[in-house]
């Protein structure tokens, strides 16, 4: 998924796993930076 999750005006890369893990790699403007988990156990069964 792409969306500006950080609020800096640049869309960030987000991955969702069915296990409820959401990972975001924020955009630096010229690449996607370090990936980190933003929430866990959210969306299981959706």
């Amino acid at each position: 998924m792409l969306g500006d999750t950080t609020g800096d005006g640049k869309a960030d890369a987000t991955i969702y796993y069915g296990s409820g893990w959401w990972y975001v790699a924020p955009s630096t403007g010229s690449s996607f930076g370090s990936v980190s988990d933003w929430i866990t156990n959210y969306g299981v069964g959706s």
Partner: protein, 427 residues
């Protein structure tokens, strides 16, 4: 305008995602939808090891779903009809769809085929292709679904955003399978600014098809926090679930589409919940194959846009702020047969208007071709080629402004190794 290809290389992400992935196969370059009409449910009653079944070889990952005789079977993705056979043996009456690049899906033991299904015909994902039964080598009414890639068994996951169907290898007698609801592949988890915070941070929004419940976890810029249910029973049995600011108040609203009559229902965001839903439009439009919310008119309110894959027709019902207006055709023949369709402001400037973008895996002897039809506020201008050679065999194609340049860039994702490639949109 020039386009610069940038490898958005983030090895850390590749490594992190690879270590967490449980499915090593690459997904096809399209989403898969469970093979029954959107909004309805079926469960598994057999597979390799499931109920001690014996699917092997090229059928290793094949799944049996419980169907009653005559119930509709739908295509897992767009493709062409490669095989249509009437038989009393083996797979019985069965159909094979060719999805391109070696991917096929087989639907076995059918009672009959849907109207218009003949070898060479094109179908869209979710289209009814036949009706279930018990023909051929079968002991009861069910659908046998098999996917293959280049002739080898292929695990058809995720479908409708769901993974974990199989029980491959281990014999489990009479397991209890959940009921799975079919829906378009990418609606269950989305990013959008539902809360309407000053920085317009995108929140994580989840839709549960089985209940019509929507949950939101706020973005605080570094995490998604405080997940809670914002509305219940909104969109149960709907065909599409979308997010967009349809009333122009800066907050993304929850919108659902029902294909049976082309109706759109809206639940407006209050910033901390979705208000009770109301009907905004009917008849926009039965038979359409893809659906979007985007501000194509440039008035700050997201409009309801539908696309017909076979004709390439795009229809818009512009938001008035409290309903969607007359459904009118904005362009014809843009993206007929295309792999993916998107809305995004690739033009830039003020006002910001969403343009209609399509991606072809192959067309006219070229691979990975993007076309855009730019919005003029009351229609889409004639389409033109935008990019060539960006994203061939990718699993997802998207448009979004990833560098803050004020125009949507073209982004593709490869699931096999977690790579993202960006074609920045420079003027």
């Amino acid at each position: 305008m020039k386009l610069r290809l940038v490898l958005a290389g983030f090895c850390a992400m590749v490594l992190a995602l690879a270590s967490l992935s449980t499915t090593t196969q690459a997904a096809p370059s399209f989403g898969l939808q469970l093979p029954w009409p959107a909004g309805t449910q079926h469960r598994i009653n057999g597979g390799n090891g499931y109920n001690c079944g014996t699917h092997t070889g090229g059928d290793y990952y094949a799944l049996d779903f419980a169907f009653a005789s005559g119930e509709a079977v739908t295509a897992v993705a767009a493709g062409t009809v490669a095989t249509k056979i009437f038989s009393n043996f083996g797979y019985g009456n069965h159909l094979i769809l060719d999805h391109g690049y070696g991917y096929t899906s087989l639907y076995a033991h059918l009672q009959s085929f849907a109207a218009g299904i003949s070898v060479g015909a094109t179908v869209i994902g979710g289209q009814i292709v036949g009706y279930a039964d018990n023909t051929g080598d079968s002991t009861g009414d069910h659908l046998h679904l098999r996917m293959q890639k280049s002739g080898a068994a292929y695990q058809p996951e995720p479908m409708s955003g769901v993974t974990g169907f199989g029980n491959y290898g281990a014999c489990t007698a009479n397991p209890t399978s959940p009921y799975w609801t079919s829906r378009a592949p990418f609606d269950a988890q989305q990013l959008s600014d539902a809360s309407g915070d000053a920085a317009h941070k995108n929140d994580a929004v989840v839709f549960y098809a089985a209940s019509g419940n929507w949950q939101v976890a706020y973005s605080n810029g570094i995490d998604f926090v405080s997940p809670s249910t914002w509305i219940t029973g909104h969109g149960y049995t709907s065909n599409r679930e979308l997010l967009g600011d349809v009333n122009g108040d800066g907050k993304a609203d929850a919108v659902v589409y029902f294909g049976s009559n082309g109706s759109w229902y809206v639940a407006l965001s209050t910033g901390s919940s979705f208000a009770p839903y109301t009907l905004w439009k009917t008849g926009h439009r039965v038979g359409s194959s893809d659906h979007f919310l985007g501000d194509v008119t440039g008035d700050g309110k997201a409009d309801a846009v539908v696309f017909f894959r076979q004709s390439g027709d795009w229809y818009v019902a512009a938001s008035t702020g409290s309903s969607f207006g007359t459904s009118t055709r904005w362009i014809a023949g843009h993206g007929a047969g295309s792999t993916t369709q998107m809305l995004g402001d690739v033009t830039g400037g003020t006002p910001s208007r969403a343009d209609a973008v399509v991606y072809f895996e192959s067309i006219g002897g070229q691979n990975a071709v993007w076309y855009v039809a730019r919005s003029n506020g009351s229609g889409f201008d004639p389409y033109s080629q935008w990019i060539v050679g960006h994203g061939f065999t990718s699993d997802r194609q998207m448009v979004a402004d990833v560098n803050g340049g004020g125009r949507a860039d073209a982004v593709v994702y490869f699931g096999a190794n977690g790579s993202w490639y960006v074609a920045l949109n420079w003027v």
